[in-house]
């Protein structure tokens, strides 16, 4: 086997771009999904029933169907209703909406798990609404939803690979293309698998570190 330095140098820019697309869709997707999911959870908890029921239906439909079907509907069906998107924005939008459905359930559980006694106690000692939200609700909820959120972020990282099917030029698509050009498909896919594995392990470790930092807000549930 001969080692071709020029080959490695020539594919570097392409790989770097693909890595950028994977990281961009992942990070932006997680942030977007968490924000949208939070809004949905708040709307379902505090909004009117006429907002709550349709939202619940949307969440159930998204959680009950494959991500790939949702992407196809958005990417191939979108142009028929005037929503023509390039692959990257379509992938990002798909990932955000998909993730938001799951995040909204995580936040819903978080809202329900903050003991009302804590809020009542805070009211009794004279904290105002802003202080209650800032010092009681947000820290306790963060602690409660952190493990599930990290898990969801990891799931979304793995789902970015699915975006290759709608031709988003992320790592899975680019590496499969390079691999088949160079007749080294299995080798390149194996390296790709190792890359995802390492990144997932790293994200999991980061999550456990954050959980440890937030553990001071842990409370004993009755």
């Amino acid at each position: 086997m001969n080692f071709d330095t020029n080959l490695i140098l020539s594919i570097m820019p392409e790989l770097a771009r693909a890595f950028g697309v994977t990281m961009l869709t992942w990070v932006a997707g997680v942030i977007g999904a968490a924000l949208l999911g939070f809004l949905v959870a708040v709307a379902r908890r505090y909004g009117s029933r006429w907002l709550g029921y349709p939202l619940r239906l949307c969440v159930e439909v998204i959680r009950g169907t494959p991500f790939l079907i949702q992407l196809f509907l958005l990417y191939y069906g979108g142009p028929f209703i005037g929503l023509s998107l390039e692959p990257i924005p379509a992938g990002l939008l798909g990932l955000t909406v998909y993730g938001a459905a799951y995040f909204s359930e995580i936040f819903r559980a978080g809202f329900e798990a903050v003991p009302p006694g804590h809020v009542e106690a805070a009211e009794c000692v004279g904290l105002n609404r802003r202080q209650i939200i800032q010092r009681i609700l947000i820290p306790e909820m963060t602690m409660l939803v952190l493990p599930a959120s990290v898990n969801m972020a990891i799931i979304l990282l793995k789902e970015t690979a699915v975006l290759s099917i709608i031709t988003v030029p992320e790592l899975t698509l680019v590496i499969s293309a390079i691999g088949s050009q160079q007749y080294a498909f299995v080798e390149s896919l194996f390296l790709l698998a190792l890359f995802y594995w390492g990144l997932v392990e790293l994200a999991g470790r980061l999550g456990r570190y954050m959980e440890a930092r937030f553990s001071k807000y842990r409370f004993v549930t009755a």
Binding site: G64, L68, I69, F80, S176, V186, A193
Partner: protein, 213 residues
């Protein structure tokens, strides 16, 4: 959308259910072995068990499927693509099920095993009569969730050329220029199947209540 197209989708969804069911079943067998390995006092066994779980949970299923689909022929195994697809799905779900079962095995009360020891049950009898039924019962709700996950994940085997529900919808959408109707109908079928699995699961859980410790 005509009934003819919908019928084709329904037929393809049987294939989706079949592939998922076979994978879940094989995955349960492999998963039990892997969870036993990762709980084993033997260091080499427990490390390999945990590495298996970590790898198959850490790599996107699509990458696993592409890898297995191309790896098997490279190793000289010329198997039909459906075998590669089922292998990939089974290994992936085995890792998740192993994790669920490990939780189940770890929550078997120690007192029951000590009592079994005193009553003179052999290690295999303890596994067969006490550990396995309790672990399975505890892991059942997550098994139902896993079945739903795999049903949805099976849409990815469309990329290795298996004509299941997603691929059928894709092919029909391409030939009729009606992606919205076809993908919505496919989504509806997935929803119905998932709903059936979820309600089947809760019936099953209720009938599994006997002898709860």
């Amino acid at each position: 959308m005509s009934w003819k197209l919908f019928e084709l989708l329904v037929q393809a969804s049987f294939y989706t259910v079949l592939i998922s069911f076979i994978s879940i079943t094989i995955g349960l067998v492999i998963g039990t072995a892997v969870s036993a390995a990762s709980l084993s006092p033997n260091r080499a066994l427990s490390i390999s068990g945990r590495t298996f779980v970590s790898f198959f949970r850490g790599v996107p299923l699509l990458v696993q499927l592409l890898l297995i689909y191309n790896l098997l022929p490279a190793l000289g195994l010329n198997v039909p693509s459906v075998v590669a697809a089922i292998t990939g799905l089974s290994l992936c779900t085995a890792a998740y099920q192993a994790e669920n079962l490990r939780g189940g095995f770890q929550s078997v009360p120690r007192g029951l095993l000590e009592a079994a020891d005193m009553a003179g049950l052999s290690a295999f009898q303890q596994f067969r009569r006490i550990k396995a039924p309790i672990a399975l019962r505890l892991a059942l709700p997550s098994l139902v969730n896993e079945a739903i996950m795999i049903l949805k994940a099976s849409s990815l085997v469309s990329v290795v050329g298996i004509v299941e529900l997603t691929r059928m919808a894709q092919d029909l959408a391409a030939s009729t220029y009606r992606p919205i109707e076809l993908f919505s109908a496919a989504g509806l079928l997935y929803l119905i199947i998932n709903w059936l699995i979820a309600s089947g699961g809760s019936v099953f859980e209720r009938s599994f209540r006997w002898g709860r410790p």
